[in-house]
């Protein structure tokens, strides 16, 4: 009865995909799901009534059943929510025509409205402002960081120092991004290995590897083995593909310090005589080298010209090597005193560029002949299939940056140079209302629990709308044969039952309004048969059962409503139990007793906390309008019948007690009865009813 408004894979902002996602039923977006050109377009002489049209004629792909949906518009998308009547002469005036102004109705097909429409499941509700909040307008704060693989919580201080990836043993396969597992392998000891010098050993006698259980990749394919099964990240940082060792940042610093002390004096080493200019540096090493080199240069430049001799060393020992602090301190001494040498101050000091790979110099290899021969002879030298050994763009892009591989930025193309990818950390976030800063949603900070401390979702405050087509066996005319399911025939009235389910514990009055014709190219006439009605409060099932037993079949069963206007329609047997579908005796029986269909002004059906009403639509004809107005064939999803509807909900809530002086509100007495205050909430929503058949 309450239908299934499931909305898989909703992507706000993708043009038209919000409709497509519901209609395919599987939640996937198919680029080929496109409306074909009209069948009669190619044959202008064909003015006769078409033959019975099958589903294959109308659509080039079989249409998935259409699920009616309800999207609600968040009020954050209004341009000026506080000053509505600003005259606009600017170019924004055109775009505002589609916005919510009191005079303009909401157009669900405008490109802009695509960004503000959300299904009910996506919306939250701020209790202080009594307003709907959408994912676009809430302010998010991070509660905790965790690795999605090992579920280990990472303190935020580590994020700054070590980056936003897991630093334990969680890796993704570079080929298929599946999770890698640590496996133990027994390798027979290689007698040749023992003879080679230590720093040239190709692979350590480690006995653990990473392997992917999906694509069967293992780290032996890049020549990496590990000694210990844990802290793989650390071990991996010290290994290159192929098993050679690599210096980490710490080790590089230590080596540099050693060389500096050996070289004696000047901070930057200007030349290791035998250093090879062609050594290939990886990104991290090069960056670190360059950074330390430039820092040294800056401290040198600020130091010289002031004091003769070895200023940088003297100041370097003090630790003042940041240029800002240097200039600040030096200006104390050189402000307007006579010691100040104005000429030398204006000279910034000479700086030079890096001259060696230890300083960060990386020569561009203009001669690519070696790379070309490597590519051409790949299959003969390695015996691997070249196509599957080429790294694809997505594989290269998912590689983590700065991970100490052989240079990856455009210089390698093979899968043998790919490295395992550490998992990106994820966050748990709490959401706040942007206006009153009230917390709307707050998850537990414990990573393994999925509960929420605070969770104010719109589904607990505003009524749920479910849509179903109304077919009365005796009354509704039978549809055309061979029509695809869930389509609506044009130019014939179709009726739909809207069921409003009330989640709060007070009864609400709902007022609906729609424009008489839907906006868009194929306007449909819409009539709401009962635009104002009440929904009872969401009481317990047992309460209702007990009340039913006590009460007779009198019609005054509506609970605690202050006033009930005429169109209430709770006739004999007015309130049905939830779940029964006996049609319309509540709103049905007319005076003559002949009509069993829905009546104007009467509710269709009513239950414990829900009410159903009927709306009637008469869709426009697609084919003829498209032929006449010359705007081209029917675009994708233009045949979906969407109704913008304005919903206004009024209810009475308990007035909040004054916290400072409890009991004051009750002492104030009753301006309202019992301290209740009237509240109301209004919003636009869009009902997607179905596709209009292309028969006419």
């Amino acid at each position: 009865m309450f239908g299934n408004n499931r909305l898989p894979a909703f992507h706000p902002g993708l043009t038209q995909s919000r409709i497509r996602d519901t209609t395919t039923g599987s939640g996937l977006w198919f680029p080929g799901l496109r409306s074909p050109p009209l069948p009669s377009e190619s044959d202008p002489a064909n003015d006769q009534l078409p033959l019975p049209i099958t589903q294959e004629d109308l659509y080039d792909t079989p249409m998935a059943p259409f699920n009616p949906y309800t999207y609600i518009r968040c009020p954050c998308s209004e341009l000026n929510p506080y000053t509505k009547r600003t005259p606009d002469v600017t170019a924004q005036g055109l775009s505002r025509a589609a916005q919510d102004d009191d005079d303009h109705t909401f157009d669900p097909r405008a490109a802009r409205s695509n960004y503000s429409l959300y299904p009910l499941e996506y919306l939250s509700f701020c209790e202080d402002c009594h307003q709907i909040r959408c994912p676009r307008c809430v302010a998010e704060e991070i509660v905790c960081y965790y690795c999605p693989n090992c579920l280990f919580e990472v303190p935020s201080s580590n994020i700054r120092s070590e980056g936003s990836r897991c630093t334990r043993s969680c890796f993704q396969c570079p080929i298929c991004i599946g999770p890698l597992a640590v496996n133990h392998v027994e390798t027979p000891p290689d007698p040749n290995q023992l003879l080679s010098p230590d720093h040239a050993s190709s692979s350590h006698s480690g006995s653990y590897i990473l392997s992917c259980s999906y694509c069967n990749w293992s780290s032996t394919e890049i020549g990496i083995k590990f000694d210990k099964p844990n802290s793989i990240h650390m071990q991996l940082a010290k290994l290159r593909n192929g098993g050679e060792t690599r210096l980490t940042a710490k080790e590089r610093k230590e080596r540099r310090k050693e060389q500096a002390s050996q070289g004696g004096g000047g901070g930057s080493s200007t030349g290791q005589g035998e250093e090879d200019l062609d050594t290939l540096l990886d990104m991290e090493t090069q960056f670190a080298n360059l950074k330390s080199f430039y820092q040294n240069q800056l401290s040198d430049a600020n130091g010289t010209g002031k004091v003769g001799g070895d200023p940088s060393a003297a100041l370097g020992n003090l630790g003042f090597d940041a240029p800002a602090s240097l200039s600040r301190i030096m200006s104390l001494y050189t402000g307007s005193s006579s010691l100040h040498d104005k000429k030398s101050k204006s000279r910034p000091g000479t700086m030079r560029e890096a001259l060696a790979p230890s300083e960060g110099l990386q020569l561009a290899s203009l001669d690519e002949s070696s790379a070309i021969t490597a590519l051409q002879d790949f299959e003969s030298t390695t015996g691997l299939d070249a196509y599957s050994s080429t790294a694809s763009t997505s594989q290269l892009q998912s590689q983590a940056p700065y991970l100490g591989a052989s240079p990856l930025h455009g210089l390698t193309r093979f899968t043998s140079s790919l490295r395992p990818i550490p998992y990106l950390l994820r966050t748990k976030r709490s959401k706040r209302c942007p206006q009153c800063r009230h917390i709307i949603s707050k998850p537990e900070s414990k990573v393994t629990t999925t509960r929420f401390r605070i969770r104010l979702i719109a589904g607990n405050y505003i009524p749920t709308i479910t849509i179903k087509q109304l077919i009365i066996p005796g009354l509704t005319p039978p549809p055309m044969p061979n029509l695809p399911p869930d389509t609506i025939e044009p130019l014939k009235p179709a009726q739909f039952v809207l069921t409003f389910k009330n989640p709060i514990f007070e009864s609400v009055r709902v007022t609906l309004a729609t424009p008489a014709t839907t906006p868009g190219r194929f306007p449909a006439k819409v009539t709401i048969l009962c635009p104002q009605f009440d929904i009872d409060s969401n009481t317990d099932v047992w309460e209702e059962a007990l009340k039913d037993n006590n009460a007779t079949s009198s019609s005054s069963q509506s609970q605690n409503l202050s006033s009930s206007t005429g169109p209430e329609g709770s006739g004999p047997g007015g309130r049905k139990r939830a779940g029964t579908l006996r049609p319309g005796t509540a709103g049905g029986a007319s005076l003559a007793g002949e009509e069993l269909g829905p009546e104007v002004g009467k509710v269709w059906e009513r239950g414990r906390n829900w009410t159903s009403i009927v709306i009637e639509v008469i869709p426009a004809s697609l084919v003829q309008t498209a032929k006449r107005d010359g705007r081209g064939p029917i675009k994708e999803d233009e045949d979906v019948l969407e109704i913008p509807m304005f919903v206004r909900i009024e209810w009475e809530a308990e007035a909040p007690e004054d916290e400072i002086m409890p009991g004051l509100s009750s002492a104030k007495g009753g301006n309202k009865d019992g301290g209740k205050e009237k509240r109301e909430l209004a919003y636009w929503c869009v009902l997607g009813l179905g596709r209009v058949a292309r028969t006419l």
């Binding site: 392997s211 999906y214 694509c215 069967n216 293992s218 394919e221």
Partner: protein
């Protein structure tokens, strides 16, 4: 040819979908095939063997309950130490419902419908179409995979879940078919280890699945 052992019929009569596993197995619908079972193989009682041609199950192989072996297109040969899981079908019809007959090989002998090498694992719900299909030794045909008619899959391949091999395709040895039809070569060199693990698994399965080869002979 209905099944001999009566399964407990679920007593609920609500009319909604029942779990397939508690329904009684589909009774034998087609002709009963001539069989050649090794003495050490394990055939579950509710396995489904149909077809006019011979079905051969070799040493220590395990056929799970409700697995289907259809010899409508030709002879079905299951090698040594194979495992065929539930709802897998050897000798299936193609998507249009046709049972292919394999074209004869070089010596003119009939290829039979499906030939499984040794140590092959056919996972749950896999469909190996008939028509001269050959699955090489040590290959794992993943869950829900469809191997087209006449395809020749090499040795020690891995077909991951829901992958497809087109009809007549030849897959080289040690291939991994993953993702959306991507291929790569498996270089782990773990074939021996996998065979040993398969033998151990068969030991366990033989104790868990009650075998009833007499029902089919």
């Amino acid at each position: 040819m209905s099944s001999a052992t009566p399964s407990p019929v679920p007593s609920s009569a609500h009319g909604h979908h029942k779990r397939h596993s508690i329904l009684p197995a589909v009774s034998q619908s087609g002709p009963k095939p001539p069989v050649q079972f090794s003495s050490s193989c394990t055939i579950a009682d509710s396995a489904l063997l149909t077809g006019p041609h011979t079905i051969i199950v070799s040493t220590e192989s395990v056929i799970h309950p409700r697995a289907r072996l259809e010899s409508l297109g030709g002879r079905v040969t299951v090698g040594r130490r194979c495992i065929v899981h539930e709802r897998a079908c050897l000798g299936a019809a193609d998507l249009q419902g046709r049972y292919h007959k394999g074209s004869p090989d070089k010596e003119g002998r009939s290829m039979g419908a499906v030939t499984l090498g040794d140590y092959v694992t056919v996972e749950v719900g896999a469909q190996v179409e008939s028509g001269g299909t050959v699955i090489g030794e040590g290959t794992t045909v993943g869950i829900g995979t469809r191997v087209g008619a006449g395809a020749v899959v090499g040795k020690h391949c891995t077909l991951t879940a829901n992958s497809t091999v087109a009809a007549g395709e030849v897959i080289p040895d040690y291939t991994v078919i993953y993702s959306n039809g991507l291929r790569r070569i498996d270089r782990r060199g773990v074939s021996d280890l996998k065979n040993k693990a398969q033998a151990r698994q068969i030991d366990v399965l033989r104790r868990m699945i009650p075998s009833n080869p007499g029902k089919f002979q």
